[in-house]
């Protein structure tokens, strides 16, 4: 692996496409002057760090095994915690008897839900979790009691000695069951639809997993309409409907979640945890423990992989904190791999229906998209996830009229939440395969149908997302040319195929998770008189390189070596708030905050030195660890001397920077999900080989172009792109969070061995191209790269499979049994009809008959709420919803 990785990076310079032109002005004026690397004194600076493939600042520690992960922490007198979890999927807790466990040798404390009765949850609207279940369990794996003991064995034995009596409740295991369960509006209002589970009379509430939500087991329903889709369909030459299913899958970080809690001599609590969101954990702890936040410190340890799976506050974090407070001793918990599967918060299984109207040239006149999300047992980020399944359809191709309806249900399974791409890979897969089908039906080239109808850069979409720089056309050109797509498409021998798909993703959510007007990221910078620079920020490096990005940006502005900077992050006592490593927000938001702090520090240095040396500030520049006169470069002082001069002039040199995203253009209810300071774009071409005798799909190569705005570090960027392709490959071909619904809804195989995810042997070749079209909102023009490149992978593979064997797999993962089943059905049909006129060829007559497919046939009937209606910007819309006619007069 290593030689090829080196080769990829070595070849990087030739592959990168750099667009240095400033952005064309569009309908929407940029909110920040460009380019940001123009120095405030007017001079421009040649970039010395940004854009260079420096190693990560934490690389040496990582590769030599010196990084201290949460599980590496060992403290004197430390206790070990084990958590007893429910082995039943849905039940009332009748009784918990901990007496035997308490009496066992080595056991120091045993707690149940009574010790931690306050609910919490990542979203203010879904405070539906308890650290330990109070009176009810909602899934196998729900925590019910916890033990602290002198070692792990004693804790494990005691955990098994806790006796719990359950009264079973009816089990909900699918979207369909949840929609039809007694108590849901669809049952009450429509007694004819009695296909749901049978109910023994009176106790409707028994079926409800939660006592809140829209109704029954429906957690959330949303409906939005931008423009008029019915009118749009009338203008269409072709209207097409498709149904897709995207199975759930999980993050599979190598590091299992772990946490250590300790109470200081003065009664303050400190929690070290493998979390992506120390700030939100801090808030949740204060709430659940009923302690002032000022007496709680959360330190996020380096994450051995996150991918969204460590973005919620988790029961084990509350539990060890409580146990540390109760026992006065440090307490550690390290989850087993099974427990990580139960924490989940991964990709929602989503059933989707999409109806699109298109003109003959492929221009979309209207789109109506419906999604049905299996949320699992808790809310988590689910309300946001639901909106996300309908939000980003509009930022790639022009959709003048757009309607979205989404519903998330509760089921007795581990909760779903945000996984790399949060709520968008599922609709993106549906949209890109759907578009491929439309192109074929209209006899259009799949490249042209996409490229000819792209959203304009610097424009507003129908749902009021503000698109900035938009390099998708360049992305498409790159991968189409490099893969020789036009010659290969529909021309490869049977069993070989090629497919194209595009995508887009946020560079950070435009709105915080809890409503406030404060910055999303803060950076504090301290300059030492001996030349040291310390940067403090609440952001947490989950392997993506955010610590390094801080160092690179500050080094760039101050003209010093990034490896001379002390990076101190993710400690709520020491570092200013950053909201966390999620929604691909860190490079843009933390980067902008760091840029502001660094520019302020630079200005102090320059002002002080300018006064002292009597050189105009406009002539001073910082570079190579020195501050010098640009007109007289031999006149220079070292960086440390510059700091000394500034410290003598101003006192201790410390600056701060912060970043708040620009306000969203949408003002309607639901407009909070989707807006971002910038959108990244991707195009990918997959080339596959399908064995028609087995249905086994092998992805040979993926060409992917990512519009990053600007790569702060091209080597790390490549790593993120390749990592995303790898994860997308797993989702496309094999990963499944599947449950045995007829066996107590047990997870089918919660293990690294049997939850099938690709190994290096399954990884395809990846050719990566970076498109650099700097976005005015990003630091140095940078946009995200951590999540977007995953999105085009599943649909590109699905489209390539169709090109190879002419069957559509409208369900992810694309497993061999599905491919083979579709091929066999097609072949049986052809045999029935006798040899076709084209001499027994394997192809179907394109554009006339629907190709054979594997996938869901329909979606459930749902009584959707009246949509929030919004006029698109080009129709005089203001971003606010159209007021409905007043039914009741205001009092």
């Amino acid at each position: 692996m290593i030689p090829s990785a080196v080769a990829e990076i070595a070849g990087f310079c030739m592959q990168v496409t750099r667009t240095r032109d400033p952005p064309k002005s569009g309908r929407i004026t940029a909110t920040k002057p460009y380019p940001v690397h123009l120095m405030k004194n007017g001079s421009s600076k040649h970039l010395e760090v940004v854009g260079k493939p420096f190693r990560k600042v934490d690389a040496s520690a990582k590769v030599t095994g010196q990084t201290k992960f949460a599980d590496d922490i060992v403290l004197p007198r430390m206790l070990y915690c084990k958590i007893l979890r429910s082995h039943v999927p849905h039940a009332l807790i009748r009784k918990i008897d901990t007496s035997k466990a308490v009496a066992m040798p080595g056991v120091v404390a045993v707690i149940t839900g009574k010790s931690l009765p306050i609910p919490y949850g990542i979203l203010p609207v879904s405070q539906d979790e308890h650290a330990l279940c109070l009176d009810k369990v909602r899934m196998i794996g729900d925590p019910v009691a916890a033990v602290a003991a002198i070692d792990e064995d004693a804790a494990f034995e005691a955990m098994n000695a806790i006796e719990v009596e359950y009264d079973p409740l009816p089990v909900i295991s699918s979207i369909q069951d949840a929609l039809r369960s007694p108590g849901s509006a669809h049952m009450d209002d429509n007694p004819s639809r009695t296909g749901g589970p049978q109910l023994a009379g009176e106790n409707k509430e028994a079926w409800r997993i939660h006592g809140y939500g829209d109704h029954g087991n429906v957690h959330k329903m949303v409906a939005l309409e931008f423009g008029d889709v019915e009118e749009g369909f009338k203008q269409a030459d072709l209207i097409r409907e498709d149904v897709f299913f995207y199975e759930g899958n999980t993050h599979l970080p190598m590091e299992q979640h772990a946490a250590v809690a300790q109470v200081d001599g003065d009664g303050k609590l400190c929690l070290w945890s493998s979390t992506q969101t120390p700030h939100y954990v801090h808030r949740a702890l204060a709430k659940v423990l009923e302690m002032p936040a000022s007496r709680i410190r959360v330190i996020a340890t380096p994450n051995g992989g996150g991918f969204g799976g460590k973005s919620d506050p988790f029961p084990h974090e509350m539990i060890v904190s409580k146990l540390a407070l109760l026992t006065g001793r440090p307490v550690k918990v390290t989850l087993t791999r099974e427990e990580v599967f139960y924490c989940h918060r991964g990709r929602h299984p989503v059933l989707m229906w999409v109806k699109t109207g298109a003109k003959k040239d492929g221009a979309i006149t209207a789109m109506h998209f419906r999604s049905f999300l299996d949320g699992g047992a808790y809310g988590s980020y689910g309300v946001a996830s639901t909106y996300y399944t309908g939000a980003l359809q509009t930022v790639t191709y022009k959709i003048p009229n757009y309607k979205f309806e989404g519903v998330r249900v509760f089921t007795n399974k581990p909760p779903c939440g945000p996984k790399r791409g949060h709520g968008t890979p599922q609709p993106r897969y549906a949209l890109e395969v759907h578009l491929d089908k439309i192109a074929e039906q209209l006899r259009l080239d799949p490249v042209a149908i996409r490229k000819n109808h792209l959203v304009e850069p610097y424009s507003l979409t129908s749902n009021y997302l503000r698109v900035g720089s938009m390099g998708l056309a360049a992305c498409i050109d790159k991968v189409v040319t490099a893969s020789d797509f036009k010659n290969k498409f529909r021309n490869l021998p049977y069993g070989k195929g090629i497919g194209l798909a595009c995508a887009s993703y946020l560079s950070g959510a435009g709105l915080p998770i809890y409503w406030n007007h404060m910055p999303h990221s803060g950076v504090q910078l301290r300059l030492d008189r001996q030349g040291g620079v310390c940067v403090m920020c609440g952001s947490i490096d989950i392997g993506q390189g955010s610590d390094s990005v801080l160092a690179y940006i500050i080094a760039e502005v101050l003209g010093i070596d990034p490896f001379d900077i002390r990076v101190l992050t993710a400690d709520t006592d020491l570092t200013p708030v950053d909201l966390g490593s999620y929604s691909s927000r860190v490079t843009l938001m933390t980067g902008n905050a760091a840029l502001e702090a660094a520019e302020r520090a630079r200005d102090l240095l320059i002002r002080a030195v300018s006064e002292k040396m009597n050189i105009p500030a406009t002539r001073l520049s910082l570079s190579g660890g020195r501050l010098f006169d640009v007109e007289n470069p031999e006149t220079s002082i070292s960086f440390a001397e510059a700091v000394q001069i500034a410290e003598a002039r101003f006192g201790t040199i410390g600056t701060v920077g912060s970043y708040t995203p620009p306000p969203s253009a949408g003002k309607y209810k639901g407009a909070g999900v989707g807006p971002s300071p910038a959108y990244s774009y991707d195009a990918a071409v997959a080339e596959v080989e399908v064995d028609p005798r087995t249905g086994i799909v092998r992805v040979e190569r993926i060409w992917i172009a990512h519009d990053i705005g600007r790569a702060i570090n091209p080597a790390l960027t490549l790593g993120q792109v390749e990592g995303s392709v790898y994860m997308g490959l797993g989702e496309a071909l094999m990963e499944e969070m599947s449950y045995r619904t007829n066996r107590n809804v047990v997870h089918k195989f919660p293990s690294l061995l049997e939850y099938k995810s690709p190994t290096t042997l399954e990884m395809c070749d990846v050719k990566t191209f970076l498109i650099e079209d700097p976005d005015p909102n990003g630091p140095f023009g940078a946009k995200e790269v951590g999540q977007g490149p995953l999105l085009p992978v599943p649909p590109a593979i699905a489209n390539a499979v169709y090109d190879a064997v002419q069957v559509r797999i409208d369900e992810v993962p694309i497993t061999p049994d599905k491919v083979l089943s579709a091929i066999q059905k097609r072949d049986e049909k052809q045999e029935d009809e006798g040899e076709s006129a084209n001499g027994g060829g394997t192809g179907i007559t394109r554009g006339v008959e629907e190709p054979h497919r594997y996938g869901p046939k329909s979606v459930p009937e749902v009584d959707w709420p009246e949509p929030v209606r919004v006029k698109p910007p080009w129709d005089g819309g203001t971003g606010k919803e159209i007021l409905r006619e007043a039914v009741h007069a205001r009092e």
Partner: protein, 332 residues
Amino acid sequence: MMRLPKFEYHAPRKIADAVKLMAEAGREGQFVAGGTDLYPNMKRRQQTPKVVIGLHRIAALKKITGSASTTGVSVGAGVTLTELIENRTIQKYYPVIAQAARLISTPILQNMGTLGGNLLLDTRCNYYDQNYEWRKGVHFCLKKDGDTCWVAPGSKICWAVQSADEVPVLIALGVRVKLVSPGRERVIPIAQLYSRFDGIHYLTKQHDELLTEILLPPANGWRASYAKLRRRGAFDFPVLGVAACVWFEDDHATVRDAKLILGAIAPHPLEATEAQKLLIGRPLDENAIRAAAAAAHAVAKPLDNTDFLMYWRKQMVRPYVEQALNELRNPK
């Protein structure tokens, strides 16, 4: 992390001492060689022996001796899979054994796992290879702590799957194995090592017997191959293994005898006897291979307790038998 239960550990240096220790320990005892199967199972409480007798210090179990052309070769049960893969005699005269060993798990586990351990591998099942808490969620299963086989709830027997790659290969080759217990030694054809009863009583080996040697036949007059189906090219247990061995007449074309053994599709290795008959007495050509594959397909009855859908696994018997047999066709 998951923890091993407490147990007493012995590391004898002689076979005689090992079997004596086992006789003393009785039902509470368990031999361990590489530990790649036993220790994870113990962590999940699938097996909880009180006495574990380590075999890695017994030099006599680590030898590869004999002649491939005359007497045949004897392989000690404690030879690691890596040693087997790297052994020149095995590579040259019994390449199919090295090939199958290479397909077992990962190189790291091959360094620890032994040939004997692979042959005695516990049967596997998605309802059994789970930790204690998971199994509690389904009220346990017939093979361990429960009374229902969740794969086939009406069944009185266990359907856990024979999942070792070397088993079908060595059966096809007709090797013999030596079993030693205090005061007794016996050599049996390896096929007789596997009970046909169920996934719990999958071995005919007595509890106090130690598998010490694998006796390979002389390496002439036959060709053998192994085709393995699994999700990923690394790491995974087989969900179907096809071992084929063919003896040719002096004309080098007509098949004199054939063995076709299916692994990982039932609680025991499955001999496709009808398919074998279809190969004998005729050249190994496309028609013969297709007919044999169809016959083998008919006897395979996988259930839903491994990776992949059982219907698909059954369908894969045909192409995988064809693949194994095609490799044996005379390249000239």
